[in-house]
């Protein structure tokens, strides 16, 4: 019995495979060390060693926060919320049709329409909303509108991608059953597809809204309105106590939006 146990050795990989794997790890570590050297070639180490003092210096200037600044932030805060919310709504209006065109099982033409819809999704996703805002401020001028459109353009891809994936994952038998009753295409979508993707849709929407609140706080940096505008002003004038107040406000807002979106998702699903 003990003999049998000692001879029956089981290994997941053969010895040569095992060695190859370790060699692979070694190469990876060597590569990392090499990259680290290249990366730090231009680093001025005096600045780095200085960093703790610098941080402490800025930190000391940031406290106490200048609470009197809050009244000046109410309006930009409102703008930021509007940018995020309206931008999300605008994105949904455009993303839903794109998602249906992109999903294999609902697209009118998998060969021609679907690639087009995917192209819209990819191009929207590949550009950060800050860059969209930069472009749009140049095109439609600075202000809240540029922010809304920037948020919307970035969100289309996100919402449409997640939604079309949800559409592709639906249970086909329910679609089959409703089709078999003689329902029209639009009725099949209404009765068999929509009920199945509704929870995913709600989740995606609040999730994106939550992200958009965070993103819209910085859009002001490039002139697209909202809290970021005040942030830039304060940083340019080295008004660190004001920066602290803005940071805290952003923190509170994000916490609130997170709470709201968690509640909404819970309620719908």
């Amino acid at each position: 019995m003990t003999d049998a146990a000692s001879t029956t050795v089981w290994r997941k990989r053969t010895t040569s495979r095992e060695l190859a794997m370790w060699a692979g790890w070694l190469v990876l570590v060597a590569f990392f060390v090499f990259c680290w050297q290249v990366m730090t070639q231009t680093t001025i180490w005096a600045f780095v060693t200085d960093a703790p003092q610098q941080a402490a210096d800025i930190g000391s200037r940031m406290v106490p926060p200048r609470w009197e600044y809050i009244p000046h932030l109410i309006k930009p805060m409102w703008d930021t919320l509007n940018i995020a919310t309206l931008g999300t709504l605008l994105a949904i209006v455009m993303a839903v049709p794109v998602a249906f065109l992109a999903a294999r099982n609902t697209s009118p033409s998998v060969r021609f329409v679907r690639p087009l819809a995917l192209l819209i999704i990819v191009s929207s996703r590949s550009i950060n909303s800050l860059i969209w805002a930069l472009l749009l401020v140049a095109i439609i001028g600075p202000g809240v509108l540029a922010g809304i459109v920037a948020i919307a353009l970035r969100s289309i891809g996100f919402v449409a991608k997640l939604l079309y994936e949800a559409i592709e994952e639906i249970d086909a038998s329910q679609v089959e059953a409703v089709t078999a009753t003689g329902a029209s295409r639009s009725q099949v979508v209404d009765y068999a597809v929509v009920p199945q993707i509704l929870p995913a849709f709600a989740g995606i929407t609040v999730f994106r809204w939550d992200i958009n609140i965070r993103e819209s706080t910085v859009l002001g940096l490039v002139g697209a309105g909202g809290l970021g505008l005040r942030l830039q002003e304060s940083m340019n004038t080295l008004a660190w106590p004001q920066v602290t107040v803005i940071f805290l406000l952003i923190l509170v807002t994000v916490l609130l939006s997170e709470w709201v979106s968690a509640r909404v998702r819970h309620a719908i699903i």
């Binding site: 329910q174 078999a180 003689g182 329902a183 209404d190 199945q196």
Partner: protein, 287 residues
């Protein structure tokens, strides 16, 4: 009523699911379609309402050749064909009532159906059907809150809400326990008898088919190899349909406790207990 003529389906992968299937279903006749997995049972009934497009051959519903119909014509024919599914295929997140009323979609315009404003007759009929299948107290429950047997009852009510001229039933009992299976089969057959509704019932449980159906068609690799009375299903026929196996217990008497797939009290005959146990095991392994 329904006539299939030389119906053939070859899938894009080259699999030949049906070859030259020809048979007629008379008005009021309930046909059991048996055969091993992959014999083409599901393909066959889906070719009738063209959920799957047949490659060649004709399907006549009355005088209409279903295979020649345009999209619009097809929708109108589909309204007349009720369908019941293996995994119920209810829309899980809709209520029982919405599921039943969806049987009426072919008759109602988009906006009416969108706002769930169905004609009073349709709603009345839905209530009547839910009462008939014993679910009148579950009307506003969501479909996913029901048990398997209850869901299949909703599926039956949805098919009947169409006021169909033909019922296509795809493995109605495959996901149900033996007792519920019998209840559901009995309900389907009763309803068909009440209104003289012809039906094709796909079923892989031979004993259950023998118990409830008066005509059986056996399908093997897409070809009809048997068409006749359930009483004529003998070992030779079953071997032709399913392949070599000891069929003695299946034909005479099956049990409903252990294998969970066999029918009860079908043509009870004496058989010695030892071979019965062996056959029971075989049957459980087979089905």
């Amino acid at each position: 009523m329904l006539r299939l003529n030389d119906l053939t389906k070859v899938y894009a992968t080259g699999d030949r699911a049906l070859s030259g299937v020809t048979f007629t279903v008379e008005p009021g006749q309930v046909v059991g379609l048996i055969g091993p997995s992959g014999a083409g049972k599901s393909t066959l009934i889906r070719c009738v309402n063209r959920l799957i497009e047949p490659t060649s051959g004709q399907v006549f519903l009355g005088d209409i050749d279903v295979t020649k119909l345009s999209r619009r014509g097809l929708r109108q024919v589909r309204r007349r064909i009720g369908m019941i599914f293996q995994e119920y295929a209810l829309v899980e997140r809709l209520t029982v009532m919405e599921n039943v009323l969806s049987g009426r979609l072919g008759y109602v315009g988009f906006w009416r159906s969108f706002f769930r404003r169905f004609p009073p007759e349709a709603v009345e009929k839905a209530y009547r059907l839910l009462d008939r299948v014993g679910l009148s107290d579950q009307v506003d429950k969501r479909a996913d809150a029901l048990s398997g047997g209850q869901r299949q009852r909703v599926g039956i009510a949805r098919a009947l809400e169409q006021d169909p001229d033909l019922l296509l039933v795809d493995e109605p009992t495959a996901s149900l326990d033996p007792k519920t299976s019998r209840q559901i089969m009995r309900l389907i057959v009763e309803i068909c008898d009440e209104s003289g509704l012809p039906a094709i019932i796909n079923i892989h449980d031979v004993a259950l088919a023998q118990q409830f159906v008066r005509r059986i068609i056996g399908l093997q690799a897409g070809v009809v190899v048997f068409d006749g009375n359930p009483a004529d299903l003998d070992a030779e026929v079953l071997t032709r349909i399913y392949g070599e196996e000891d069929w003695s217990a299946t034909i005479r008497k099956a049990d409903d406790e252990e294998s969970g797939d066999a029918g009860d009290d079908v043509l009870p005959k004496t058989s010695d207990p030892v071979s019965e146990v062996i056959d029971r095991e075989r049957l459980a392994g087979l089905t």
